[in-house]
Amino acid sequence: MASDEDLVGRLAQGDESALAELLKRHERGLSSFLYRHTGGRDVEDLYQETWVRVVRHAGRFDRERRFSTWLFQIALNLARDWRRRPPPEASEAEPVDPAPSELARAEAQHDAARLLQRLPEAQREVVMLRFYHDMSEEQMAEILQCPRGTVKSRLHHGLAKLADLAAEEGA
């Protein structure tokens, strides 16, 4: 089976099957990362823009690097830019009432998302990458372009803050 790095080499030559394989391997991880980072908003746009950048820069990809690290670095930069944009104007569409069980589940999820959103951005990013995407400290340091010690410290403080927030809200 071809490695991700080999597939990027083929992608730079315009190989559609290489793109299909890379999409298949990373679609779940990348889309859920973007979903969690943005709270589910504009995921499609960010997902597409991430892959557009991967295709455009595939020729310059350093094959010594891990593809997943590069992919998440691109996605993270796009998600950060997205967060800096001003919020869109409120829609006038009427919200649809979900069923009670769906409502309870949605509220629970909303609580978890809200707690994560209350973390400082730097801490939230390491918590997401480490615990939802099982990334090593080394990979996170490369993605976030900071020393490994900083990642370690952010991780601990992020978890401690999350525990405090959960206790505070009785979650």
Partner: protein
């Protein structure tokens, strides 16, 4: 991944972190509570649908990249083949004149001319075949790639 599977995975990762983290060892965190909180955020996103739309949107860009790659390779192949050509032509011309001179001492002029011209024509034919093979080889490779692509999308 279901919520319970996610919670188990999160508990394992949190446990690994707690073992490695000096600060966590000094002041333990409520890992069970943290895994429960983090597991609540289940992602609802149609990743396969997103990928399908991305693949469709990127098709023109990939076609452009494939074209650029083909012509770049073609140019490099032709250049690599043309670089030694002057030296080869000079060597063959010298060889033909030497053979002509040497054979003229022994054989009739008409026969020598016939032999040298035949040999020269054969060389020209071999050159033409060699240089024609460059675009043919590239076209064959491009054909193989498009067949593989069709098989992958079928």
């Amino acid at each position: 991944m279901s919520e319970s599977e996610l919670q188990r995975a999160l508990a394992r990762r949190l446990g690994e972190h707690a073992e490695e983290c000096g600060e966590c060892r000094a002041a333990p965190l409520p890992l069970g509570e943290l895994s429960r909180v983090l597991a609540r955020q289940v992602v609802v996103v149609d990743a396969v649908g997103l990928s399908r739309r991305v693949a469709a949107a990127l098709r023109p860009e990939l076609a452009r990249l494939a074209s650029v790659w083909f012509w770049r390779r073609f140019g490099r192949g032709v250049l690599a083949a043309l670089l030694p050509l002057p030296a080869i032509v000079a060597l063959d011309a010298w060889l033909l004149s030497f053979v002509h001179e040497w054979a003229a001492a022994w054989l009739p002029e008409a026969l020598v001319t016939y032999l040298v011209v035949s040999y020269g024509a054969l060389l020209v034919l071999l050159f033409a075949a060699t240089y024609a093979a460059i675009p043919l080889a590239l076209a064959r490779e491009a054909w193989g790639r498009s067949v593989a692509r069709l098989e992958a999308t079928a």
